[in-house]
Symmetry: C2
Subunit: 593 residues, 2 copies
Amino acid sequence: MTDLKRYIPILEWAPRYTRQAFGDDLVAAAIVTIMLIPQSLAYALLAGLPVEAGLYASIMPLLVYSVFGTSRSLAVGPVAVVSLMTAAAIGDVAQAGTASYWEAALMLALMSGGFLLVLGVLHLGFLANFISHPVISGFITASAIIIAMSQMRHILGVEAQGQTLFEVLLGLLEKITAPNFATLAIGISTIGFLAVTRLRGKQVLRSFGLAERSADVLAKAGPILAVAASILVVALFGLEARGVAVVGDVPSGLPSLTFPSFDLELARQLLAPAVLISLIGFVESISVAQTLAAKKRQSIDPDQELIGLGVANVAAGMSGGYPVTGGFARSVVNFDAGANTQAAGAFAGIGIALAALFLTPVLYNLPKAVLAATIIVAVLSLVDLAALGRTWRFSRGDAVAMVATIATTLGLGVEIGIITGVAVSIGLHLFRSSRPHTAVVGRMPGTEHFRNIKRHDVEICSEVVTLRIDESLYFANARFLEEEVSELVEASPNIKHFILMCPAVNTVDASALESLELINARLKDAGITFHLSEVKGPVMDRLKRTNFLDDLTGRVFLSQHQAEKETRACLDAPSGSDTPLVAAQKASSSTGT
Amino acid sequence: MTDLKRYIPILEWAPRYTRQAFGDDLVAAAIVTIMLIPQSLAYALLAGLPVEAGLYASIMPLLVYSVFGTSRSLAVGPVAVVSLMTAAAIGDVAQAGTASYWEAALMLALMSGGFLLVLGVLHLGFLANFISHPVISGFITASAIIIAMSQMRHILGVEAQGQTLFEVLLGLLEKITAPNFATLAIGISTIGFLAVTRLRGKQVLRSFGLAERSADVLAKAGPILAVAASILVVALFGLEARGVAVVGDVPSGLPSLTFPSFDLELARQLLAPAVLISLIGFVESISVAQTLAAKKRQSIDPDQELIGLGVANVAAGMSGGYPVTGGFARSVVNFDAGANTQAAGAFAGIGIALAALFLTPVLYNLPKAVLAATIIVAVLSLVDLAALGRTWRFSRGDAVAMVATIATTLGLGVEIGIITGVAVSIGLHLFRSSRPHTAVVGRMPGTEHFRNIKRHDVEICSEVVTLRIDESLYFANARFLEEEVSELVEASPNIKHFILMCPAVNTVDASALESLELINARLKDAGITFHLSEVKGPVMDRLKRTNFLDDLTGRVFLSQHQAEKETRACLDAPSGSDTPLVAAQKASSSTGT
């Protein structure tokens, strides 16, 4: 039963559902529904699908997520970046506007859902962690730029296609000389209206005396107002006849349950996009879900979230939708509007179902330019080029990964962009840890502390050399360590004892073990005793399972202080001579601890 | 001038060359030449090339390596694994025995040399470090098995081909029913003789009164004795007429300098093999060079070694050879025989040139079975399946990478094998560091030390929770940390202060910074103060370049002791009540420090 509750969280919360929670959820659902209607239509347009696909993607997925999801605030449905990725993926396998195009979208949703389910059942959600923050940030910025530019054709009232920035711009440039002026007027005024309500709406409403929260929520209704007003204007002035592209006939009613005919070749072509869409969607969803849950000291279960989103996508694929995920903006609205449980999401799904049943005739006169304007204003807020500067100041490597992601996404498309970003960030991480920070250390006079001889005035003894390595030892840096030791030994003519100080070595793999054995053997050949100090418990446990400690010419010391004391003592003993501590020469310009 | 000496090491050592060194080098070269003649012929056979290609690959490459190489003991030339990889690479693009097959081998050597030169000039030798020891070990074991099995056709005296173990076995099984018995007799007796001389030769020679070192060196002459004896036997008994395959006519003379006609399509096909051959060859060469250099407290320069091997391969490609590298066994012989400088290698090259000029007529009657036998005995000593058990005991992840390498190399070929091994080992490394070891710590009574509450009897205070993380923080484990903190906070109802203890955190990347910011914000929402302790200097320097420290609700403490003291003090102050230290419940069965 506990297990069942883990996999079907509704069994956990539904029995304790209260009238109070029902009221809260209903209010939040009403607000989210109003926000979701124009978004659903617009994102379907972005994905190259008929607008009703957006509505359908906002019905069943929301209902099933409320059964399987663990976030009480997440609002699932079509989102901008996933819609763009959908367009890119199925644009490669089918012609936009055809039945097979929509079929491919259903297939993509099913495959993406299936992949998320597999990740959830096998607890492989950590795979999404390999898409680093700078890569996601760069990817979203670049995607937003492509999305905004691609929607310009609806604002200009021209036909143009393209998946990379270059293609989109080229398509637009060809047509820009002959825009439809009625469309342009509607588009530009909508962008202006939406931008103003987004930036100043709340302030204006508050100056009319509305309460903080009401003003906040009402300001989010800008898009639905624009939709309503534009429908009226087009109908009143007969603008369709003036060449304003409108949504046109949208079938009334609910989607029927279908299962796309399975096409192995299509599945093969959609596999990589489905995997990428799943991971990107999961990353976007999980971060907003975790942030909102933390605000109320609730928690979510990432593995179960994979299952919740997986089932939602399967439902999207079987009910005329396309890939969905938890949206950032609308989840925040849901949370702020007081959503108490997952039921709020289900109610919003029912709200969209009612819209699909009764509202579609009204949508006939809705100009595509208005939907494009809502997309443009929404996505431009996602463009964050300032993040590049912040990242550069903090970490050059991350900034390089970010630039690579932005450049390849803009230039070569979303799929290559995200793959390049991940490859570059993994490569740079491996590169960094393959050349770890090391320091020759000496004793701070009068203490038991050992510090970098380049940074501090420390005492050293020319016959005992201690190298501290600040990284776990593994294959990529094992040979680096060998070289560091060789160079150090070569530069230390009097060396009798070499101590490797390991306070930051969290693991030692088989390659590093062989390197340690080699170092031991090479030092032995050269008449130098090899010691270790400050080895961590788990590393020591592991070394004990090998012959290394038997072969080690020296000892393993718990503390560096002890290592230094005892190696110096054994120097003193045989020779009887003095082995003076000399003050190490501190280099004037260097980094390190 | 210094720079010139760095890139052309012969300018460094030649002016100081002594008569004594000349004598040493000449003796070593004579011994290496005797060892290299049968090896060169045999490995050429393994690569699917005419035997003279092996001789040619042992002339110019040795001469140029002595100019550009930094190892005084390395013996460059054809080696088993690289010969197998050559056969696999060019077997895909040309038919064995044709002129275009040899042309492809020359191209491969040129490309491989060019790639090594690029790596050397750009200081990219560390790339080879990503081939971990277990992957190399597994790769060599699997290659040796394939090589030995593939040579069985020469022992049986049948025709059979194949690059994977499966293909080789299948080819042999088809023909095994009709062996050539004269060939089989020669092959089996040679294997027996070589195995005995290898295992017992030194002992036997010493029992005849030879000195240790002479016995050691003479025992290595087994293959040349087998070659000489078999030539005599075949000539005396006219065995060629009995179906014993012999080497036949080998052209006398030195190779002419050529440059392969450049074929872009061929270059494209050979690119991946050339890269893999370069890296594997470099790894094999550098490890033996470093080991031998260390024995005399000399050092080698890895970047210059790339240049030395690169030029050697270019030379091989321009003088009728095929890819070469520093061989393990023969470098050890060179070292043991007293090689003093790089000149020993050049003298061995001259030795082989003399053989190519004057010895080839003698080789007519050399049975291929004898060459195959020398290969089989040499490579079987490389098979190290016991390494699998040793690795498994030390590190499961490394053992998995090793098994994956062996299985894919045997089953799918050398190129897929090495790529799979590298991918698996990088994947497992990332996986491990994505779920680092963490421990909730408490104070050891009466000390300033903090230890894992699951392992030690420590004192904790329910309002102050400290988590120690034993890994650098980066994108792959950033979200893991967020989850750990969430779970810990949820399980600690009285928590007021949360301390993240960072003694093993060597770096924090941009993703981890965002996670730390999120953790700070989430804890703030929940009314919990967030502190850090024992942050390393370079990490602190980096954090200071961001707003993180301004936004941090708590403080950064130099030591965990101070962190605990001060957070407890600020608990005591406002409430005035007692916040008793309670003895943490030590879990009975758990791991960690």
